[in-house]
Subunit: 236 residues, 6 copies
Amino acid sequence: MRPSGRDLDQMRPISIETGVTKHAEGSCMIRVGDTHVLCTASLEARVPPFLRNSGKGWVTAEYGMLPRSTGSRMRREAASGKQGGRTVEIQRLIGRSLRAGIDLVALGERQITVDCDVIQADGGTRCASITGGWVALRLAVNKLLKAGDITTDPLMDPVAAVSCGIYAGQPVLDLDYPEDSEAGVDGNFVLCGPKLIEVQMSAEGSTFTRDQMNQLMDLADKGVSVLVEAQLQATA
Amino acid sequence: MRPSGRDLDQMRPISIETGVTKHAEGSCMIRVGDTHVLCTASLEARVPPFLRNSGKGWVTAEYGMLPRSTGSRMRREAASGKQGGRTVEIQRLIGRSLRAGIDLVALGERQITVDCDVIQADGGTRCASITGGWVALRLAVNKLLKAGDITTDPLMDPVAAVSCGIYAGQPVLDLDYPEDSEAGVDGNFVLCGPKLIEVQMSAEGSTFTRDQMNQLMDLADKGVSVLVEAQLQATA
Amino acid sequence: MRPSGRDLDQMRPISIETGVTKHAEGSCMIRVGDTHVLCTASLEARVPPFLRNSGKGWVTAEYGMLPRSTGSRMRREAASGKQGGRTVEIQRLIGRSLRAGIDLVALGERQITVDCDVIQADGGTRCASITGGWVALRLAVNKLLKAGDITTDPLMDPVAAVSCGIYAGQPVLDLDYPEDSEAGVDGNFVLCGPKLIEVQMSAEGSTFTRDQMNQLMDLADKGVSVLVEAQLQATA
Amino acid sequence: MRPSGRDLDQMRPISIETGVTKHAEGSCMIRVGDTHVLCTASLEARVPPFLRNSGKGWVTAEYGMLPRSTGSRMRREAASGKQGGRTVEIQRLIGRSLRAGIDLVALGERQITVDCDVIQADGGTRCASITGGWVALRLAVNKLLKAGDITTDPLMDPVAAVSCGIYAGQPVLDLDYPEDSEAGVDGNFVLCGPKLIEVQMSAEGSTFTRDQMNQLMDLADKGVSVLVEAQLQATA
Amino acid sequence: MRPSGRDLDQMRPISIETGVTKHAEGSCMIRVGDTHVLCTASLEARVPPFLRNSGKGWVTAEYGMLPRSTGSRMRREAASGKQGGRTVEIQRLIGRSLRAGIDLVALGERQITVDCDVIQADGGTRCASITGGWVALRLAVNKLLKAGDITTDPLMDPVAAVSCGIYAGQPVLDLDYPEDSEAGVDGNFVLCGPKLIEVQMSAEGSTFTRDQMNQLMDLADKGVSVLVEAQLQATA
Amino acid sequence: MRPSGRDLDQMRPISIETGVTKHAEGSCMIRVGDTHVLCTASLEARVPPFLRNSGKGWVTAEYGMLPRSTGSRMRREAASGKQGGRTVEIQRLIGRSLRAGIDLVALGERQITVDCDVIQADGGTRCASITGGWVALRLAVNKLLKAGDITTDPLMDPVAAVSCGIYAGQPVLDLDYPEDSEAGVDGNFVLCGPKLIEVQMSAEGSTFTRDQMNQLMDLADKGVSVLVEAQLQATA
């Protein structure tokens, strides 16, 4: 029934390749089916003004799509002179999610910027960005620990995200683009281990019930456990 | 226990004053406690390019805060040359929410723009904007019906929104600013009658469980029923 | 002869409601007929760079129109990415006018920003902004005096403004929108008590004589005396 | 008493050199003392959207200062990404003034853009721009007449402008920069022959009386007659 | 003598991997040593306004660097609101170079946009972009030929580019970043088969002779022949 | 054969008038045929951040065209909100060229900004800007030397630039606009005395050989010697 032939609760194949760029303190290419996102974590000594001399660090994120990561070419945001609303919304979500899984005091007064650049898009780019972004962050933090710059690991359980939605009347896990563009209800679930960090469900021209919400939550739990396994393997 | 002395499941006083500007096809000033938002609905004959000759209409929203709607003066977005990320995120949410409660085919090929301008802010401005925005929309649609421009009412149940969160360890309804700035978990719930349209829960530097999520949902149901009553009275 | 039926030298009804927002140091809603402007005065400890360590303060103003303050919806300036020429011109006039009526040395090294946001427009918004802006400024300065932050009142006579013009060949006082859009000559007169601060008269596709100029000045004197009375009552 | 040694009612030396660029339909370099402005009039077949198929033409103006036209180098507006408030205000004034002296119906459905670029500034650049701009406009219109593209001369009396102000307590004509920066009251007067087109008087931190206003008007009349003579000679 | 141990006339290892994204009509990842650029060619039916109904097509290019493609993180251009001068200069060069190697009439009235996004930078990104960009263009044109949309191959000899410079007093081929940042003279040479398309040589705080110029040209000839071989293999 | 009737190796008439604005530390109007560029050099005590406390100075350049310097009016860059790609490219070239001919250590920690504003364009504006920009720079440096602010002359041989190209199949010197718009190959050559600073040759829809490149270089040598003579006379 799904265009891809997957089961309702089946994730797409996941691969996380680390160390894909020589400059970044942490990096990976995450592939969730045909969605490919390059994630890098960049360490900087400075923090934003509101944290100066606070002893606390900061994690922030930026998101972008290459112009031809999509089916038809999108206008380059650098050329159009501003980031669109969708971009801004997504990068705020990524940053918020990653900050929820890190102890900023233990990180110390330094900033890590996680860049998530979509090389190829097929639905679920924000979730792949969060999941891959955490891997890049984990690798950058490992470097700090190994160098003795920090002594307590500031990271908690892996932060991972998956989308679920109501497609053709059925709750399905990990929507790809053909499903995403048809789904009546679309949700993104960000977890940190067994706990929730962020839930976003929305419906355009439709509605949903609390039962459906709980069904999607069940699927999300299942999907995230698969993602976390891939994250742990990649950073082992 | 709440700074305002309210019960955990108690809304702030709500008032919705309609017809507050002579130009707009629909308008109201919604006051939820000390949060005051002026909402106008503007009817235009044209639709966005992607809907031309589709027979479908469109509802969109814009959001702004007056520079001194807040405790300390914010920079005017028109002067700084762009809308901030938070503004963009909120106006996309308002537009999406209102569109979920309207039949765009029944509306016909016309656009209604709902402007939500915060006159005074004390937490929950996006929820007040959705709730008041629906009232302005309802009034503008009434005008179309009365003039015979459309014959089927495109609007469904009222769309209303409320914020709930975990404050000082307790689930509370309708956070005001002092609560909002301290809350570990913060959720916005948009309903269309008994059905859900949008759920957004997020935690910065914290996490939440599915149980807590359901507790907040219960509070939201309660709050929205109060808001809907006010909406129906205002548009009776 | 006037669309509103007013006498040639008759002002529209004026009301000035103070204390309309809880955050601003001074605020009022001024209504001149159907023109409604929300004016707030925000006090800040800092001054612009060119006044640092000068012992002098600063008063500046910003002006905006809500998108649907007008008969047909205008594009939101924050969304279009810049303030239009008319906006810039008006806010410079408001700032210049208010500064002409205050002793910046007596104010001390602090800045007061006066925001004038048009809620509903029906002609004469810049004049209403100056008149209401002065009330907000007066209230903010009163706070400084009461708190003992300054000991000498820096404000002089009230600053008030009115528009006059040649409509249908006749000099008329306080043009409303239907008159303004037809007037051959249009003037704005800003006074500080009996003295002039700013005179702007312009004609598009027409000309005027010095006699006409003096007739408009006579009307302006009359109109301003009515406005000053309202200002003094509101701030008594 | 004046820094330049001029009499109170004495203009600076004026020269208007026409035909200074080979491309423009009309052009001149106007020199009013050390203020030098290059004015060009560019004829285009199109009119702004609001005039299409109206049979009416349009005259508009743009103004700029070369970065080192001033005593210390100013930031280039093209580099800073926007025109400042002063620039916008001035170019609106120039356009309005020139339009007041032309019959747009007789001009026919075409647009003339007058560019005024300040090569060297020493006070009074907006007035020199209007005066020189009219000469460029006159020359461009002459071309249309000569080519038989229009048969009725749309231009009326010359449009010319001069600044007057209260300097060291005295009304003076044609302020140069040292006077302008010290003047308590500063006015710009635009005339079309014996009639007024635009009057702008403003005071920062000061006030003025109607008597002073009339004294400045008398000086302006005198100054403009000198300017008009130069305009007529240049375009003879 | 070279930091990398290469001979003076030795290129870095080159690899060109095609078909790296499923959406673009043509794509490759070109790797010249540690410089990695993702190139895509996007086919669109429309042409720029100045070519409409001309029967001619257009090739244009855009260039970008991922924020952490470099040793220290650069600001994202989409976030800073504009493309920097270097970016603009490079993308104009890429577009000009590719257009010089294609018959725009034979291409027909369609546009191909070549996007060159630097994944990892180690000197010579503009040259790698041109070389890889041509491969993407070749693949997209092949698609048009295969589909019968065009019948004459509009592409001529491969367009390839290489940088040469004077490093430590010696002419060297294919500068990597450590060399590039120290070179006294830096040149980029774009060839189309045996012919030159573009030569850019520049010196900051230094000069060069015509002899040196010819030595660099000799090196460039050698380097380009290696690149062309790789291009032909990749598109065979 | 050339539209102007010049010999293939003949420059247009050159004039360099110095001291054309009273404010700038150095200035000239350079006229190369009908191409007229006003060049000013502005001295400032500050240097860019990356040079603070380095003991080194900086030379930078900005370039602009008056809107009607061209055959048909161009949009004013200040009004369109950004400098176009061509402008950015040219001003970077001017700055780089002038820096190559100055010892920044001998200049000391100060900045000179060279503004090149095209008053009338007829081809070769970037070359005229470099040539005239050097004259303005020379005059500003002379002022520093005369005032004893620096004791060693930081300037070396004059920096001058000329364009050459293949027009109608023939190598020609100093292209004017009619030639430039038809030329198959277009080159700009910047020299500092007998040495090369910058060579840029490009071909759109055409190619060139190394022989042609050397022929153009020969012409450039000849043209620059004429320009240098004019520079030395103007600054004698």
